[in-house]
Symmetry: C2
Subunit: 430 residues, 2 copies
């Protein structure tokens, strides 16, 4: 048998899983600080639900992994966490609003793969359903800011507003029907430059004077305030600008820094209706956005085929990319969670179990020699796994009631009284 | 569109997911105290890997959800976490032994469903690979004991040993080829009683004097030591008994209590080779076992088609059942993680954002009125979600720099100085 993973899937060995878990825990902690609670939905959904035209659209449907159960029901693996959220809202009409939930789970897309694009990957979503006010969007930016600050990352939050884009395109005489495709070209500005955008728009049959106007708009420069001033002079429809100003005002109260109003930001998905966001890291090899999101006030109610308005806004964190950026910063990888390894010298492990259990009860992650190797082999084992401390115990140590704590990095050794095991915790900081 | 879940799958709404997450975190914490590190493998595996005859066998294969990718590759959703573990060991020949890993993830089985059996459910496995000594098995029991003690559950750990069963069946003149099927009947003792087992064995064509001997064996009564003494007189092959004695000796050092040596315990899966375990809760409506496991010294090497011996032992925690038992004990359910809800009176939420951010920086999970409801509606909202504390702030409070903390259960209110926000944490204990 040829032992390997299914194409586009990967194992996370302990040294990787430890880092991913650290990221997940930090995200959970921050989401919960902001009053978001966890939700879990199944990986398997009815295909009919996934295929709703108000969900991801036909493009994404080509990438759904389809399956059937014994009853020949048509099923699929979820490709995002937004459709399941809409379904949950629909199935629980009495749910308390606002519904603030986060969900960190795998999704599957049977598409082309690359080093940064797998067929099974994490989606990490935080959304608030039921709030129209920009205060909810500002809170999203506060979450972003707190998360990356805690990880010591330099970042920029790019914001824009779909309504501003629409009124800009109206100003440029772009018809409603082709606005989406124009936005797709705008989104590529960073990749293909101004000339590239011009050419693409020309190929799409946009008139020269419209192209000229668009380029003029997206060339507007300056601080956020200066850009807004410029646009206030040029745009007739002001709703998007007002939302943006309100968002920035709230964000200031939340002490969110590094916000850049970036007019070419359009984001692919057509369901956005208001503010849209993208976060990029500075000084990282990860150049793609690490967070994306925005407001989608019409998607859930359209999905549920109800007339009741169900506003919503949210973010999706790109866990795999953030992982890559974090790995780049952290030079050393730990292959184990173990903090302390107990090495018996000339005595049997069984004589140390009671002591080890006491140390564990103090909250220290302890492993010990289960094989009966010699001391130097045990120290090699510690080094190869990156265990930071070893506790060396022989008959002499047991008699004197003093054990030897060895810092594996520095090689420094220190005697610890058996009666003072509670002090170990301070010495062994994670 | 008919909005519902795929058959045999379920959503975990926040009030359920909060409890499951609590259990998962406690398990992770304890596994890590014992030096086990996390591993993650994909949900999708090559069908060929899942279908290995050394894995779950043909019965389980009928329940595999099959799928194909764009390249027409035959894939399936994993039905357990043991096959992926064996694959990881096989793909990483230089992995350091012992390899101590835990894995808490979903598995899928397309079988008949019931209230306690779904098609998508958690598997929560902890295994050590590479250790033959019974000390590894004893550590498994220590993990069980610490986990259920921390949850304040009364429990019994039933242990047996496959080698004891084999030597017992040899003693009763049961041929190798039919020993497995005899064990399947033994496993039902609790359900169908001695008479039931007798009848089943008779139907399976076992001779009367063999049946008589088997019943005699499984009727042996007394303490663990008394049972072992009895068996030492009756069994020629003593290896299993010696392993059991060693296991019990180690377990004593680990202070594991409530171990019952239970000879009819056989466990269905044929890959077990030594100690086997099952844990049941006392005084719970959950009557089925909540943990199962044992030693499987031959399965991994057979799976990898190598001659190198790869011993292993491990446990699987039944997360969904433990959840049911925990829910039974906990009378109240929280619909949110939020600890504190901020209610502005006569002022706008935006004026309180800075204060709220400060409280969050103190590690308190805070939400606030995003809608602009009146005070009594806000208190209703707190009550309906089970938020334990509310902070009531009006202009007067802001001027006096004192805010009102309300305990939602008792209705007691207390004034807190704005300069002493750090004291909030003590008052708002989770």
């Amino acid at each position: 048998m040829n032992l390997n993973n299914a194409k586009g899937t990967q194992d996370l060995m302990p040294e990787q899983k430890i880092v991913i878990d650290k990221l997940i825990n930090l995200l959970k902690e921050i989401f919960e600080l902001y009053g978001f609670s966890p939700l879990e939905t199944p990986a398997i959904e009815k295909f009919e639900v996934l295929a709703s035209k108000y969900a991801g659209g036909t493009e994404i449907l080509k990438e759904v992994f389809k399956l059937k159960d014994q009853g020949n029901r048509e099923l699929g693996l979820r490709y995002d966490l937004t459709v399941p959220l809409a379904r949950v809202i629909g199935m629980n009409p009495n749910i308390k609003m606002p519904f603030k939930r986060y969900q960190i789970e795998k999704v599957w897309r049977d598409g082309p793969i690359s080093s940064t694009r797998l067929r099974e990957f994490y989606q990490c979503d935080v959304d608030v359903v039921g709030i129209k006010s920009m205060i909810a969007d500002a809170e999203m930016l506060a979450i972003v800011s707190r998360f990356f600050s805690m990880l010591d990352f330099e970042f920029t939050i790019y914001v824009n507003n779909r309504k501003i884009l629409t009124s800009m395109l109206n100003e440029c005489n772009i018809k409603k029907e082709i606005q989406e495709t124009v936005l797709l070209s705008l989104d590529k500005l960073e990749k293909i430059g101004f000339k590239g955008v011009e050419n693409e728009l020309r190929e799409k049959g946009i008139k020269e004077n419209s192209i000229e106007k668009i380029i003029e708009f997206i060339s507007i420069n300056g601080t956020n305030e200066e850009k807004i001033q410029q646009l206030e002079l040029r745009l007739k429809e002001k709703e998007g600008l007002n939302e943006l100003k309100e968002l920035l005002e709230y964000a200031k109260k939340f002490s969110v820094k590094n916000i850049v109003f970036y007019l070419p930001l359009a984001r692919g998905l057509s369901y956005y209706t208001g503010p849209i966001f993208e976060v990029k890291l500075k000084e990282s090899k990860v150049k793609e956005s690490v967070v994306g999101g925005g407001r989608y006030d019409k998607m859930i109610s359209a999905f549920l085929e109800t007339n009741k308005e169900i506003p919503a806004t949210g973010l999706s964190f790109g866990l795999n990319r953030i992982y890559e950026a974090l790995i780049e910063k952290q030079k050393t990888a730990k292959k184990t969670v173990t903090q302390l390894f107990v090495i018996p010298i000339g005595i049997k492990a069984i004589e140390l179990i009671e002591l080890i259990e006491k140390i564990r009860s103090n909250g220290i992650k302890v492993d010990f020699d289960l094989i009966g190797r010699g001391p130097s082999k045990n120290l090699d084992y510690c080094n190869s796994l990156g265990i930071p401390f070893a506790l060396i115990i022989g008959e002499k140590e047991l008699k004197e009631k003093k054990i030897l704590l060895r810092d594996m990095k520095t090689g420094k050794e220190e005697k610890i009284n058996l009666s003072e095991l509670n002090k170990l915790k301070e010495k062994i900081k994670p």
